[in-house]
Subunit: 385 residues, 2 copies
């Protein structure tokens, strides 16, 4: 990976990466009387009478709050709300560039789950959707669940579902290439944080029947006591029954490996334990669980990473702009499980079958057709209910 | 006042009045690696180490949250957070147009003062300032006071201080024209909400010694029991001693009337009770306490209103963009009393003395020199400490 000089990075960040733009004229007395008092009162009165008109006459219909508490930012951990701002601003401009969505960063100075829930509920009236970001596991599950229950706008924890959708898209295409069926493959996931849990769930719902989930203490299974939490206990119902064991044990005869963990945790020997033509998505960033060159040498058939300098980059950017675009366009009140699976199918379908190859199972993050296709799929599900 | 057709107003509001703009390129893989992962991590690490760098490398240094609970929106009252959005968006674009500030509306679904304080504190890390807006009295006083104590960024309730600053500016110039001294005039204010209380305070600090404040129950005085609250009790120390009485009683021999109340509450007879050449600022909107034509007939020397279709429009727009511009430029931690008074002087000084006349005591809201002058005055006070 080519290192970009820090100076260049900082220069691009001076005074931030986003700003406010004005969409209505403000040059004459009449302009002012329309955009502000007294004219604006007409709009207020209409919205008061019919609150859903906020979608038509305010930014609500096109806006998403990018909410974090700064507790699990990138691989940097708990760096706090100020230090999380550059990432949330980055996310916000990606929303705009790829989804045409006006997103605004909201970085909170509390890590108390109950307070975060209260705060997000309180600020929700002005937003059309909530994108939760970089909130540490397992609090992220409680927060998202409570918000989904309490709010009538889409709530989406991207670290969970964005990743899950893009991984599923890559797997859909990989299975086509490998000529295997979802119902008969064995998948091993390493990393039981937000992403690992969400990937487990979506793969299960998609029809994959044999999933093993590992963390630093090995296979998550019923008989295990060490390092469990409520999220890991809850996920057991999606997992194949298994005795305790290591990641290496889990990989015996596996078809697919999904790494959402840390650098260099997978050895060539482990890859060799997998079934022939293994599919390996080693997504730890910036250093994957196994480097693509090594995985290839050990026999991997399809290899994906989180990096832009290797083929098959598993990048959430393929999902979240389209997910929210579709949800906002349909004024959906939730992002449902069906929407996520249809989104994954839409991403996979961007690549025509004849163009599929081991180095091209997932479209480029720059392919603007992706967000459009995802938005269409999500909107279709929303409107079909 | 010329009525603008509702259709025209609504058309200008379709999908809202503001949006997000992207300030950094997002066209190449490298652009993405700088604005988002992995490059952005460099910026995060720097801000984590030195949180004040958020002012340099994020939007914090140029951003203001426009916060309301929708409880006292324009003259419409408690219309709720969704219906408040058009006003807050209007405010946000005025911040941009006149102050170059990136402001974002935050409309809260709670009216609980304690919760509002918690929420604003929690969202503060991403903002360089907080503009409180249209929060009903007397809760607005508690909320602002608590936030000023807890936050290290400027907190400014515009309905209070924006109005107070512009009224003071108009009075400074009116006194010049009337050849009267602040220390010897009698001022009567009608309306003891957020604006009335703040105007009382700033005039007192400016050196006006005789102020009577009235509400719907008449003169606010020590012996009065009816319709008092803690804000009205606290303000007593700024007021001239007086027996109970009506607004008409208060106006006997007054030099200046300031209306921040409701339509048609002042009669020509009341104006006639005032000292010769009375100064009348009747700012109730859209219908003033007394119409300018009537006030003129009754002998008023200088007349101002809140309306754009009469001379001397007392418009907060003359204050808030410059106040925050100056505070952000100086990275001030508070808007101090001295800043407010210097801001008022700066607004007044925009009109050269030889151009002052009864119909021109306050600059036009479109005069872009005003925000610049106010910002300069505020910054100077901030840096002189």
């Amino acid at each position: 990976m080519i290192r970009i000089p820090t100076e260049k990075i900082l220069k691009r960040h001076i005074s931030g990466k986003l700003g406010i733009s004005i969409k209505t004229p403000l040059k004459t007395k009449q302009d002012l009387s329309i955009a502000y008092t007294p004219g604006v009162a007409e709009v207020c009165k209409l919205v008061e009478k019919t609150p859903s008109l906020a979608y038509d006459y305010t930014i609500k219909g096109n806006s998403v709050a990018v909410v974090t508490d700064g507790s699990a930012v990138l691989g940097l951990g708990d760096i706090g709300p100020e230090a999380a701002m550059p990432v949330m601003e980055g996310k916000a401009i990606l929303f705009k560039e790829f989804g045409g969505i006006d997103a605004y960063p909201v970085c909170l100075s509390t890590k108390n789950a109950k307070k975060i829930i209260e705060i997000v509920c309180a600020i929700a009236p002005g937003f059309g959707g909530i994108n939760l970001e970089d909130i540490s596991s397992p609090r992220c599950f409680i927060i998202e669940k409570a918000l989904k229950k309490r709010l009538k706008i889409p709530v989406f924890h991207d670290d969970q579902h964005g990743t899950a959708i893009v991984v599923l898209a890559a797997i859909i295409n990989s299975l086509k290439l490998a000529k295997k069926k979802a119902s008969s493959v064995k998948v091993v996931i390493n990393g039981a944080g937000a992403a690992g849990v969400a990937v487990t769930r979506i793969l299960c719902r998609y029809g994959i029947k044999t999933i093993l989930l590992c963390d630093r203490n090995g296979i998550i299974c019923k008989s295990r006591k060490k390092g469990m939490n409520y999220a890991k206990i809850e996920i057991l119902k999606y997992l194949a029954e298994s005795p305790c064991g290591t990641l290496s044990d889990a990989l015996q005869d596996a078809d697919i490996f999904i790494g959402l963990s840390g650098p260099n945790l997978v050895t060539p020997e482990m890859i060799k334990r997998m079934k022939p033509n293994p599919i390996v998505f080693a997504m730890a960033n910036p250093v994957p669980e196994i480097m693509p060159e090594e995985a290839r040498k050990a026999g991997a058939f399809i290899i994906g990473t989180g990096r832009s300098d290797y083929p098959n980059q598993i990048n959430n950017l393929l999902a979240f702009p389209g997910i929210f675009r579709g949800a906002l366009d349909a004024r959906a009140k939730q992002i449902t499980e069906k929407m996520k699976i249809e989104a994954a199918k839409a991403i996979a379908a961007i690549i025509p079958e004849k163009k599929l190859c081991p180095d091209y199972v997932i479209p480029s993050p720059f392919n603007k057709a992706v967000a459009k296709a995802v938005a269409g799929a999500v909107k279709k599900v929303a409107l079909s209910k």
